[in-house]
């Protein structure tokens, strides 16, 4: 059974419709990439899942329809959403940011903190600093580390490589691969299609608020139109 399913989800920002009936499924333990041009509806799809935008249509978790989705409710159900732009609590310390990641579990366990610091030793060095003073790459690591503290069933990531040096972007995706191996289901929106298709198992391509293509990541890499539009060769 699929862990997460979207059925004919529509979303609008005021008068502008951003999603025209998106349907997709994410299996338990899957690593899914959402590809598409700017304005295709990738970010809105993540927002629809985490309940940060009003939608019609159904979102199913474990085969059950989720009524009245709210961000805090979805977080409690095991969905961790890391929005674009490395949303961190900029005036709080790195350690407090990580503690907040574990909010749905009550207090942060030292073991989970140690686990995050193992992945990101630089966060440990900077644990008492204000999050806003970290570099872009470090903030993305912090955002990811905070999501790890929630031990989510589904991790939603919006453009994790945006504005990062290629090496740092690779490091982030390397960590995602490890989390995936550890059993976390991952849905990532990524403009670097090459990088995303290299790590993901499945991918969907969105165009103007609709899913136009979906399948195994390896197949999509060979697909002529995907290659021309998103991989550029």
């Amino acid at each position: 059974m699929s862990l997460l399913e979207l059925r004919d989800v529509e979303a609008r920002y005021g008068e502008i419709r951003a999603l025209h009936g998106v349907s997709l499924t994410v299996a338990d333990g899957d690593f899914v990439a959402l590809l598409g041009a700017n304005g295709a509806g990738k970010t809105t799809t993540l927002r629809a899942i985490s309940g940060t935008v009003k939608t019609s249509g159904d979102v199913l978790l474990d085969g059950h329809k989720v009524f009245r989705r709210t961000p805090e409710g979805m977080a409690r159900s095991g969905v961790a959403h890391v929005p674009e732009g490395r949303g961190t609590f900029t005036t709080l310390s790195v350690l407090d940011n990580l503690r907040l990641g574990a909010w749905v579990h009550g207090t942060a366990s030292p073991r989970d903190l140690a686990h995050v610091f193992e992945f990101f030793p630089r966060l440990y060095e900077r644990r008492t600093q204000q999050a806003g003073l970290l570099s872009g790459g470090e903030q993305q690591m912090l955002a990811l580390g905070r999501a790890m503290m929630a031990k989510p069933r589904v991790l939603l990531l919006d453009e994790p490589s945006l504005g990062l040096a290629p090496l740092v972007a690779r490091e982030i995706f390397h960590v995602l691969g490890q989390l995936h191996e550890g059993g976390t289901t991952i849905v990532v929106v990524e403009q670097n299609a090459m990088l995303a298709l290299e790590h993901a198992q499945h991918a969907y391509v969105l165009e103007t608020g609709r899913v136009v293509l979906g399948g195994e990541a390896s197949d999509l890499r060979k697909n002529e139109s995907v290659r021309r539009s998103y991989l550029g060769y």
Binding site: H81, W103, A150
Partner: protein
Amino acid sequence: MTNFIQQIVSGLASGGIYGLLALAIVLIHRSTGVINFAQGEMATLSTFVCWALMDHGWAFWPAFGATLLLSFAGGVTLQAVVIRPIQSGPLLGIVILTIGLLIAFNGLDTWIWGGAAKQFHGPFSTAPIRVGGVAFSKQDLGVIAVAFVAVALIGALFTRTRLGLGLRAAAVNPIEARLVGIRVAAMLALGWGLAAMLGAVAGVMAAPSLFLEPNMMQTVVLYAFAAAVLGGMDSPIGAVVGGLLLGVLLNLVGTYVHWIGGELRLATALAVILGVLLLRPSGLFGRAALRRA
């Protein structure tokens, strides 16, 4: 010299009250960016409740405890019922609503209890004690002590508890806070509850030396605004230190600068606001938001 010390002690006592009310203002401002102009009238209403309980034969401390609980519940309810529906609207709308609340609470006090000033017997004696020529009362010392205890408790809540972390997170970035599972709406209501409770402490501490009437806190709240600006609108510690500094400053200026005297006390406080905004807009303890691009 004894007069100098005298002025400092009584300045600290009134400053403690400014600080408590400033702390209430800061708690709401830092979580929502709203200046609650009704904070003073909310404090007066709480004080009336305490007075009414004592008038019905309650002893001070039980009445005070019940007042704190009622004020907390009142603050939470006020936020949930009146503020939340327009929370997502423009900030100016909320600020104007708090001015409306100011007028409403003031009218409510007068309607229930009348406009005549009432004697309020606090827990601390106002009889002067003399130590080496300096006269102060238990009331003065009590107010200073209560202010410090309140700040220590609020500080501990914010920095030492999980709830405090949630309150801070909801204030810094409400959208992110919801994404990690924090019920931001509940945190905002809690902030109003805490602010109402602090206001009650300020009102009850001020009442024995001010007489209780519907306009009791109207000047006090202006000093509290000055204290909050002086300390930094977003700094709880700053609010209280700002209050104490302002209390002492006003007393010293009033005593030693003859052309100011008692009449220009309020104008001096406004000069402090103006000066701080010109020279150091983030206040003594406020920090300009640090952000690496």
